[in-house]
Amino acid sequence: VPELKDVDVDGGKNLDILDVNEGLDLFEGDIKFNEVSEL
């Protein structure tokens, strides 16, 4: 049996919250607004 490679759950990247949320429309990267009062 060939040796199986270890699997990296982070895909080799040091992912911070902002990296995980990249492309999402979130304020300050990870904050949702209270749509009514914050507007």
Binding site: V1, P2, E3, L4, K5, D6, V7, D8, V9, D10, G12, K13, N14, L15, D16, I17, L18, V20, N21, L24, L26, F27, E28, G29, D30, I31, K32, F33, N34, S37
Partner: protein, 677 residues
């Protein structure tokens, strides 16, 4: 910094609901994050029981939260893919509890410079500040070490940092995602008026002469000594490692003198447990003989034994060594108690003895295993950057190893990776394969003497029985089926399966910060838990007709898998009213009672524990099991007394009647019947 306004605060404990959509690993980590809150603050969490407002944790795209209690019923907090890290969860819950990011506080420009030209176009608003009419830093200094601070690369358009710290030493400190910083906790505890924590009991470095209220035992032959060093080791304590002149005390029991069997007790102050389970952790140094013993006892005080009864817990199994070792003891005490350290001199020749330092006692679970890596840097270089733990067993019998891998080279080491691997073991024929829903928790311990101030680095992975390797084998199948044959240094052959983990466990800079490598040594705390129970839906409060979607999947066990399918209608970002009956709107249940509807009338279901419960229409009255015992005993005594009185009166009356009859017979004897023949 916190959002100003009492309306944004949550009641404690904070009600939460873990939606089915969450990954199992994330669910388990949420519970682990709650434990950190319970240890380090007064914030407690409880499963949602129908409270009007609660935090619903679910899996959406990304990790996000609202800021503060918006009193919108179900308030969502998302933990999407790659959000299953403990510090990310702590971070999102800090948002929910009412905190913004650290660098948005009003005075941040005094401490960091925002490099506006390096920020992605259109994202500049993410570096806004809140003035001090909207936010409060709660009189705590600017915190570069906050778990709520952006990292220096936030929203960058190139490779240059977007945040430059005015003190350069903090440039790589900002953005840590390990644990709460001291100031995070100070702010949290101020915001919620915390004066104590739920699960912390004691910490002791023996720096002061009062030795943390410990007392020398009686009925022994010797005393523990409060010392700075011992000629034959240790030469310094563990708290400061000899770095502070004239400080760095520890306690020492000498076995260099005295006879075999001589002993000394050191008893802790009294503790009043709440949870019924505890973890005692301490460092010890054994410079004595192999036959010397360090025993742990508990003196427990009960009504039956008000002077306490001693219960033996364990013997420290470490052999003599010229370094400090770490030891954990699991306790299950429900009554007032003390911890007792007993040193016993063995029958060998000793030039030292036992020393103890940096004791922590908390109502938490102990790690299952400790992997002590001596001289970490040298050792990892010697092993070409790959360190395997000794073979270990989970509580239910799976054999495993943990691999630490240093990326980069000795010249320029970068990140530290960590992986969990199953290996062949003695129980493989009786275990379930592929290994299903076992969560491996791997913690690089911050060796700060005070457990509350540690920022330990934790990552965990959960075994998914459906997960396959690239060549279509089950990843978590028997290691002798999917693994590689290898040989231990002692010549034993075994198989090692593939590892799952991360190459970005901790950066080199952070590894060398704080107390991760104290005296050059690292401690990896390891636990493997069965988290199958998290594959079931969290029970919901009992419904009225209005309660529909969430309760439909209640307590149903789903197909095993690391990511579970939502049984409820798809997660919605918009808010919904909590699923509590309308009849309960103005019907208040006291003492955490839950309102529900029966025959279209609101009734309270009162909180019940094994020792006490609430009764009454609104759960207004507390009854303890002691009360019922008193009622039972007093009723029995009353009935007995009444019965006794009735019996005595009856006997007395009968006796009197009998006496009267006798007297009558003596005075007027009946005529004898004569026979006629």
């Amino acid at each position: 910094n916190s959002i100003i306004g009492e309306q944004y605060r949550w009641p404690i404990p904070v009600p939460y609901f873990l939606e089915d959509s969450l990954e199992i690993n994330a669910k388990a980590l949420v519970l682990e994050a709650f434990e950190r809150y319970r240890l380090k603050s007064c914030i407690d969490f409880k499963p949602w029981e129908g409270e009007t407002n609660y935090i619903s944790v679910f899996k959406d795209s990304g990790c996000y939260s609202y800021v503060g209690n918006l009193r919108r019923g179900k308030q969502q907090l998302s933990l999407g893919t790659n959000c299953d890290r403990i510090a990310t969860i702590q971070h999102e819950f800090l948002h929910a509890l009412g905190f913004w990011h650290e660098q948005s506080r009003a005075d941040r420009d005094d401490y960091v410079i925002i490099m506006w030209d390096r920020i992605l176009s259109g994202r500049e608003h993410n570096f806004n500040t809140y003035d001090d009419t909207r936010s409060s830093a709660l009189n705590v200094p600017y915190d570069y070490t906050s778990v709520m601070h952006y990292s220096k690369t936030a929203f960058q358009n190139g490779s240059e940092p977007t945040i430059v710290t005015r003190i350069p030493a903090f440039s790589d400190v900002i953005g840590q995602r390990m644990d709460f910083s001291d100031y995070d906790l100070e702010k949290l505890n101020r915001l919620y008026n915390c004066s104590s924590s739920l699960t912390f009991l004691d910490t002791c470095t023996f720096e002061y002469n009062n030795i943390c209220g410990m007392v020398q035992g009686t009925g022994d032959n010797a005393d523990w000594q409060h010392v700075l060093n011992i000629p034959n080791g240790p030469s310094s304590d563990h708290s400061n490692m000899g770095n502070c002149k004239d400080s760095g005390y520890f306690m020492h029991f000498s076995t260099a003198t005295g006879n075999t069997g001589h002993k000394a007790f050191l008893e802790s102050r009294l503790f009043y447990p709440k949870r019924g389970f505890q973890c005692l952790e301490f460092f010890y140094y054994n410079s004595g003989h192999e036959t010397d013993q360090l025993n742990i006892w508990i003196r427990e005080y009960t009504d039956a034994y008000p002077n306490g009864t001693l219960t033996f817990i364990s013997t420290v199994d470490g052999h003599p060594a010229d370094y400090w070792q770490l030891y954990h003891v699991s306790l299950n005490v429900s009554n007032k108690f003390r911890v007792v350290f007993e040193g016993v001199k063995g029958n060998g020749i000793s030039t030292g003895g036992f020393s103890i330092d940096d004791i922590n006692l908390s109502e938490t679970r102990c790690p299952h295993h400790v992997w002590h890596i001596r001289n970490f840097t040298e050792e990892s270089a010697k092993q070409n950057g790959s360190l395997y733990s000794p073979p270990l067993y989970s509580k239910d019998g799976y054999a495993f190893q943990v691999l630490i891998r240093v990326t980069g080279d000795a010249e320029k080491p970068y990140d530290l990776g960590i992986y969990f691997l199953l290996i062949s073991g003695a129980n493989d024929d009786t275990l379930q394969w592929p290994c299903s829903l076992r969560q491996a928790t791997m913690v690089l311990m911050d060796q700060n003497p005070d457990i509350r101030k540690r920022m330990s680095n934790l990552r965990s992975i959960t075994t998914d029985p459906e997960y396959k390797t690239s060549n279509d084998l089950y990843f978590w199948d028997r290691p002798d089926r999917v693994g590689t044959p290898l040989t231990f240094p002692n010549g034993t052959q075994y198989f090692r399966g593939p590892g799952l983990g991360t190459s970005a466990y901790i950066t080199h800079d952070r590894l060398h910060s704080r107390d991760f490598l104290k005296g050059g040594d690292a401690f990896i705390l390891l636990s493997v838990d069965d988290v199958t129970y998290l594959n079931s839906s969290q029970p919901t409060p009992k419904p009225t007709a209005a309660l529909t979607t969430q309760s439909s999947g209640s307590n149903t066990t789903r197909v095993p898998g690391i990511t579970t399918t939502a049984l409820i209608s798809g997660p919605s970002i918009t808010t919904v009213e909590p699923n509590v009956p309308n009849h309960c709107k103005d019907y208040e249940c006291k003492n955490d009672g839950v309102c529900t509807v029966e025959d279209e009338k609101p009734i309270c279901r009162c909180k019940v524990t094994s020792d006490w419960w609430y009764v009454g229409e609104r759960c207004e009255k507390r009854v303890s099991s002691q009360d019922t015992v008193i009622i039972a005993v007093s009723s029995s005594v009353t009935i007995f007394v009444v019965m006794l009185a009735i019996t005595l009166v009856s006997v007395y009356c009968l006796k009197k009647k009998h006496k009267k009859q006798l007297t009558r017979v003596v005075e007027n004897p009946p005529l004898e019947k004569t026979s006629a023949f």
